[in-house]
Symmetry: C2
Subunit: 214 residues, 2 copies
């Protein structure tokens, strides 16, 4: 099986925003309410941060749990890793995820401001100042035959789309308008020149858009 580059569980508003304006440590999604964008996912049994053994096991859960299947590395943008912008004020910030990040693989953070790699539990963060194709090349090698997850945010996904580097995407469109923020697309139809798509409305109210190419 060839290695694939996959986007999973990406939350987007009905007007195409993956996060609101004004991201901060208190508000990782800016003015957007994470429960409104991601409540459908947080309610599933397979949500990576869930520890209580409960949660739904219907359609949304099938999609959420594919997140970990056959993944050997993740690539994320600097804005997913941290609310800070520009040069690192300090290197104490180690991500939003506490001592047990939900990745369990090498993670490559794309940033103009490099800093030393570090490990938290079984996740190792690397900081790379390079273009999408070069970062992907590092991630594919680290993934050791498994697939690479592209973790977002929207700017990073758009860069990889523009470079033609993504094989499959799962984008979950929530019935809320944000009006401003970090935009993935003008319309889900933007990708139809390059991808097949299934549109799958979920009983939870979110609409899953599943893209793949030949």
């Amino acid at each position: 099986m060839p290695q694939m580059v996959r986007v999973h569980n990406m939350f987007v508003s009905s007007d195409g925003y993956a996060a609101g304006e004004g991201q901060s440590i208190e508000r990782p999604f800016g003015h957007a309410d994470p429960m409104v964008l991601g409540g459908w996912a947080f309610a599933t049994a397979s949500w990576p941060n869930r520890t209580d053994g409960t949660g739904s096991r219907g359609l949304d859960d099938y999609l959420v749990r594919d997140y970990h299947r056959n993944i050997g590395a993740e690539i994320m943008g600097r804005n997913k890793f941290s609310p800070q912008r520009g040069p690192w004020a300090d290197q104490e910030w180690k991500g939003w995820w506490g001592d047990e990040p939900p990745f369990h693989t090498p993670v490559f953070v794309m940033t103009h401001h490099e800093r030393p790699s570090f490990a938290l539990s079984d996740t190792t963060f690397h900081f790379v100042n390079s273009d999408p194709a070069s970062v992907l090349s590092l991630a594919l090698e680290a993934a050791d035959g498994k697939d690479v997850r592209l973790g977002g945010g929207a700017d990073t996904v758009r860069q990889f789309l523009d470079a033609g580097l993504i094989d499959t995407l799962h984008i979950a469109v929530s019935p809320v308008e944000l009006g401003a923020g970090s935009r993935l697309w003008n319309s889900p139809d933007d990708l139809l020149d390059r991808y097949h798509r299934d549109i799958v409305p979920s009983p939870s109210g979110v609409v899953h858009h599943l893209f793949w190419r030949d």
Copy 2:
């Protein structure tokens, strides 16, 4: 995580039959056309018997590929293993699946007619004359902490449902009436006294029914 008992990719007609009448070595589904019941699954990239690297990666593929996730053993009925009925005419029959069966785990075949275990590649078939709870106990031990897949056919699934032993089911209802054969249910609503359910129509025309319990 507690071990679960899961049914995956079970093909059922709109009138509730998982196979037609007159199963034989030439017609494993009896008078039913396998392409009509299972064509949606055979078209996906993750169909277990696919080797050509093509296939769709939309909704149907997400459901099909959950088949292998965290499975440590399978239980199947004798009628899924073989078209023969009654005492084994001979023990040359080793299943429908050739030298590389798609299970890759221990498989427990429920039958009134025991025969010696045998291995094909990384699948080992055991033949057990016992009730569902006892067979499940063997399979759970063999699965070594992973889940147990209940492979069908309809009679076997009904026995396990009656005994309250199934945690999740994925039943794919195709838009065809069979009129007779091996029946899973009178209506998909039969299980709503015991299970939550999502009904998910696929662009392929099949309707996925996903059941789970608390």
